[in-house]
């Protein structure tokens, strides 16, 4: 098992490097970033200086070598347009996408699987027909269109009713979540120290064990930026309700396709399994129907559903791009589309690699979980 994991991780390195190389050269084909960033009216002189500052005047291979060197040392460079380190942007924005994708996935599973089961158990009944028709509509619905429809319904049509939901952003303006490490006193915000300027002794005294210059600080920040998770573990229910409300519409929008796929797969898989010999054996040994379905049929029927969920995670990532744009959520997808429009090379490169990495991690998780679910599969 450990060996298997090790081999898989080792194998992913050349793949990541390949993706890195391809994106690097492809982004250079997007054209000159100067006009895109500084505006159409930028003079030739200004542009020349800009290009030189960004190191874009060097031969492309030299640029590539410099870039790879940077990355190996853990530096993804700085956004050309936002003038902020790409790593910081990732820390802030990746959590939005993760929470969006996870919420959508959870919705897809907790709604899709039971629907599929019901449809299979009451085969050819109205439940089955509705589920099948609904699922077929669900997979063919364009994400942005559904998003706009939902936004219109819940933000405008249902305005001033209890069902009103925010159609944009991640949190209401004015609300500021306190990260768990601050709340639990692991870290003290310099703003709260009221130390005189440059009084390092005072700062040292008031600081907790976690400081901004700690190597692990970015990791804590990253976790803290998962607003739903953070407000949940710190018990900040006002913020929790607010961020969950903001997530409902995007999550449902993003969940429609995987939900439909999961429901269809569960249905057909369970129908097939219910006709298997071992299900008959279970009945013949005197198991009640509930047990036959839950213990003997479902365990087998859910195996292909697990695969399909793994595959859908990939689709979720691309769906996230559209969803984030529709609902104006500053996640990886929105940042990436903006960066492409603005030819912000460092962001495009880094975010593409991160998406690829996410894809690979998810696939690995799915494969590993398979080893646990199905005794016929051994990982080695």
């Amino acid at each position: 098992m450990t060996q298997y994991l090790f081999r898989r991780i080792l194998l992913s390195i050349p793949v990541l490097f390949g993706i890195l190389t391809v994106t690097f050269f492809m982004t250079r084909m997007l054209g000159d970033p100067c006009k895109a960033i500084l505006g159409e009216k930028a003079t030739q002189e200004v542009c020349d200086r800009f290009i030189k500052d960004q190191g874009l005047d060097q031969p492309i291979y030299t640029q590539f070598v410099i870039y790879v060197k940077q990355i190996v040392s853990g530096n993804f460079g700085e956004s050309i347009r936002l003038s902020r380190p790409v790593t910081t942007l990732l820390l802030e924005r990746l959590p939005t996408t993760i929470e969006l994708a996870m919420s959508a996935l959870i919705l897809a599973v907790i709604i899709g699987v039971p629907l599929g089961i019901a449809a299979a158990l009451w085969h050819n009944s109205p439940v089955d027909i509705l589920t099948t028709v609904g699922a077929n509509i669900g997979v063919s619905m364009p994400v942005f269109w559904l998003g706009l429809l939902l936004a219109f319904t819940f933000a405008i049509a249902l305005k001033d009713t209890p069902f009103q939901l925010p159609p944009a952003a991640r949190i209401s303006p004015g609300l500021q979540p306190v990260p768990f490490y601050e709340k639990w006193g692991w870290y003290v915000n310099p703003k709260d120290m009221d130390c005189p300027r440059n009084d390092t002794a005072c700062v040292d005294e008031k600081s907790s064990w976690l400081r901004e210059d700690s190597a692990l600080f970015p990791l804590f920040q990253f976790i803290g930026y998962h607003y739903i998770f953070n407000s949940f573990i710190t018990g900040d229910w006002k913020i929790f309700v607010d961020v969950v409300k903001h997530m409902i519409l995007p999550a449902f929008t993003l969940a429609t396709i995987p939900l439909s796929v999961v429901a269809r797969m569960t249905r057909s898989s369970l129908l097939e399994v219910l006709g298997k010999d071992y299900v008959r054996t279970a009945r013949a040994k005197g198991a009640r129907e509930l047990r036959v379905v839950s213990r003997h049929a479902l365990r087998n029927a859910l195996l292909p559903v697990a695969t399909i969920i793994g595959l859908q995670l990939g689709a979720l990532l691309s769906g996230a791009v559209l969803t984030e744009t529709t609902f104006n959520l500053a996640g990886v997808g929105l940042t990436l589309t903006d960066a492409i429009k603005n030819r912000d090379f460092p962001i495009i490169q880094a975010f593409t690699v991160v998406i690829a990495l996410g894809y690979m991690v998810v696939n690995l998780l799915v494969d590993v979980s398979y080893g646990f679910l199905d005794p016929r599969i051994r990982l080695d």
Binding site: G275, K276, D277, Y278, R280, T281, A282, R283, A284, K285, G286, A287, R288, E289, R291, H296, R299, N300, L373, D374, P375, R376
Partner: protein
């Protein structure tokens, strides 16, 4: 004579398919005495499996038991409610099937599948249940049962899987074991082992067995009595000696004529011409009539007009054929 353990009376099980009603089992009657082995033989598709599944009340859709009685120790199984029949299954009546590997659940270990029977009916769980399962595995002759209890079905051969199925079926010493072609999918040598095992355990536990097969060799070796089925009906029922020495029904005679005999050179094995009739469009009169040699030889017209009844011609011998029916106006 003591009352039989199982008595099937005029059982009718129909399948409501898109093409029409398939009368898979149409008026089947037979009985099984305590501790005996009854063989059911017949060509593929004549309704052997459906008969046995009807006894278990496990008929899949679109099938339905339309008529008849299945008396088990005097209780009509068809009158029982769901909970009652569920309690019977695996405890009083168990069943093993043709495809042993497919009949075991791929995601559970052999031991767990056996101990589930104890859990379901005796509320014996955990370590004790596991021990009982291991004990059953030992009983069915599986070497190293402790280790084998932890094996998954895909790690077992067909013969091994069938032993597990037998262990599962006999865990609670049922009064009746239905074995639906238990050896058809196995190698010849393994077949013999499995049959030996069943024979041995049957003697030890005193269970009655309904053994479904189309191998007359197996019948000769294993069974006390035999019911021959044709197109959803029993056409002959008698003890095994009489069946081989003095078969009455032309179909049975044909079946026995088609067995190759060791050491005896026949120029040609006899085969029964024609095919089993379509169960949706059954011929009028006797179902075997279109293929019957006796009918043409004796020039009987009634066969294609009126269906014969299963009649008793001797104490232990029943036949469904106009040749032996006193009601036959031409006889």
């Amino acid at each position: 004579m003591p009352a039989p353990l199982l008595e099937v009376q005029n059982l009718q099980t129909y399948f409501y398919t898109r093409d029409g009603v398939a009368k898979a089992v149409d008026g089947v009657s037979f009985h099984v005495n305590k501790g005996e082995v009854l063989g059911i033989v017949g060509e593929s598709g004549c309704g052997k499996s459906i008969t046995s599944l009807s006894i278990m009340r496990l008929i899949p859709k679109p099938g339905k038991i339309e008529n008849g009685k299945i008396l088990f120790n005097g209780v009509n199984l068809l009158d029982l409610n769901k909970a009652e029949i569920t309690k019977m299954r695996g405890q009083k009546i168990s069943m093993i099937f043709q495809q042993p590997t497919g009949s075991l659940n791929p995601v559970y270990m052999a031991g767990a599948q056996i101990s589930e029977v104890f859990e379901l009916h005796k509320n014996i769980k955990g370590k004790l249940g596991h021990e009982k399962a291991v004990e059953m595995l030992r009983k069915v002759g599986i070497p190293d049962p402790e280790r084998r209890a932890k094996a998954y079905p895909h790690e077992m051969s067909g013969g091994m899987a069938q032993r597990v199925m037998i262990a599962m079926a006999l865990s609670l010493q049922p009064e009746l074991l239905i074995a639906d072609e238990p050896t058809t999918a196995l190698d010849v040598t393994i077949q013999a082992q499995i049959l030996d095992l069943m024979r041995g355990l049957q003697r030890e536990l005193g269970s009655a067995i309904i053994l479904i097969t189309h191998d007359l060799g197996v019948v000769a070796e294993m069974c006390d009595r035999v019911a021959v089925m044709y197109a959803g009906q029993v056409v002959e029922e008698t003890d095994v000696r009489t069946l081989f020495r003095n078969p009455k029904h032309p179909y049975t005679q044909g079946l026995i004529g088609s067995i190759p005999i060791l050491g005896q050179v026949k120029d040609e094995l006899e085969v029964i011409p024609g095919v089993v009739p379509n169960l949706i469009n059954l011929p009028q009169g006797c179902r075997f009539a279109p293929r019957c040699k006796a009918r043409t030889e004796q020039n009987l017209t009634i066969c294609s007009e009126q269906a014969p009844q299963l009649i008793q011609i001797e104490t232990n011998h029943k036949v469904r054929c106009w040749l032996y029916d006193s009601a036959n106006p031409t006889a």
